[in-house]
Assembly symmetry: C2
Homo-oligomer: 172 residues x 2
């Protein structure tokens, strides 16, 4: 089974992201707008129970962080993904690193650039058009994140939440 | 903001439900296959924090239950919803009742028929065709449910998980 770890930002930021994703992101209907903390990885039912426990420990040792989305950027020329760039605050970097230590054994393909994808799988011409207009629109949003989720993927490509983790292990 | 409470069954049962929902349920892309524990209700950010705490208490006092989907049924003539009928085991009924006591102040429109919707918003003719073939296909599935989720709805009608609750407050 395929698992992943992500933060869902507030409804406000998700609604904004979806206003773009609806037109420019073919994953629009597969998962809500999110900040990926760990790229999809394979695990059996037995393995995921152990992993879920590890993540619980990591979440308790981590801290809530300020998610500041401050500009629209693109991964071009690596790929045509356009995203809201999120401030690399130490709490977020630490959380990412804890979720990528040798215990997990899964190295990320890319270095960590915190982001919320709003457009992908565009042709080069589309990318150039859409990026121009989204960059002009910009983004300026700040909120506190106190939780993240472990998800698994269904056969149709969509994602279901398996577990919710509180940062710092705190109550609501 | 609109909130709801639901159980997501295992990937296996979700994949089966989605094989029907894809064709017959316009909510297919808005939420994964689920068993509704509480119909959508309105709450402010402040209210939901109190409600989330109440649910935490309810979850701790509840018990994991056996989800047995044993036949395909329909709510006709009330509406044209076709669903997998889920066994009304006492643990599930108790959980439902705890989530509908006077503290919540939101009465359900219907009496509780545990189910997983696989088709809706069909015309009468479609309903009759689809119901005939799905009833023949049937369903026979059993699994243990140890968690449920509090969700909120985005402007596009899709649902995002806010919190995960363990039944009995147990670990994985």
């Amino acid at each position: 089974m395929k698992f992943g770890i992500a933060v869902f930002p507030s409804k406000k930021l998700q609604d904004l992201a979806n206003s773009y994703r609806k037109r420019y992101d073919p994953h629009y209907s597969l998962i809500p707008p999110h900040l990926t903390l760990k790229e999809p990885f394979d695990a059996t039912d037995e393995e995921i129970n152990k992993i879920a426990k590890k993540i619980e420990g990591i979440a308790k040792d981590a801290e809530p962080f300020t998610l500041r989305a401050y500009k629209i950027s693109s991964f071009q020329p690596v790929n045509n993904v356009i995203y809201m760039k999120v401030d690399s605050v130490p709490e977020l970097i630490n959380l990412y690193q804890s979720l990528h230590n040798e215990e997990f054994g899964v190295k990320s393909q890319y270095s960590f650039v915190p982001h919320i994808t709003i457009a992908q799988k565009l042709s080069n011409d589309e990318h150039s058009d859409v990026y121009g207009s989204l960059r002009m629109a910009g983004v300026d949003h700040e909120e506190t994140v106190d939780r993240f989720h472990l998800l698994y993927q269904l056969e149709n490509g969509s994602w279901t939440v398996y577990e919710t983790y509180r940062l710092g292990g705190g109550d609501s």
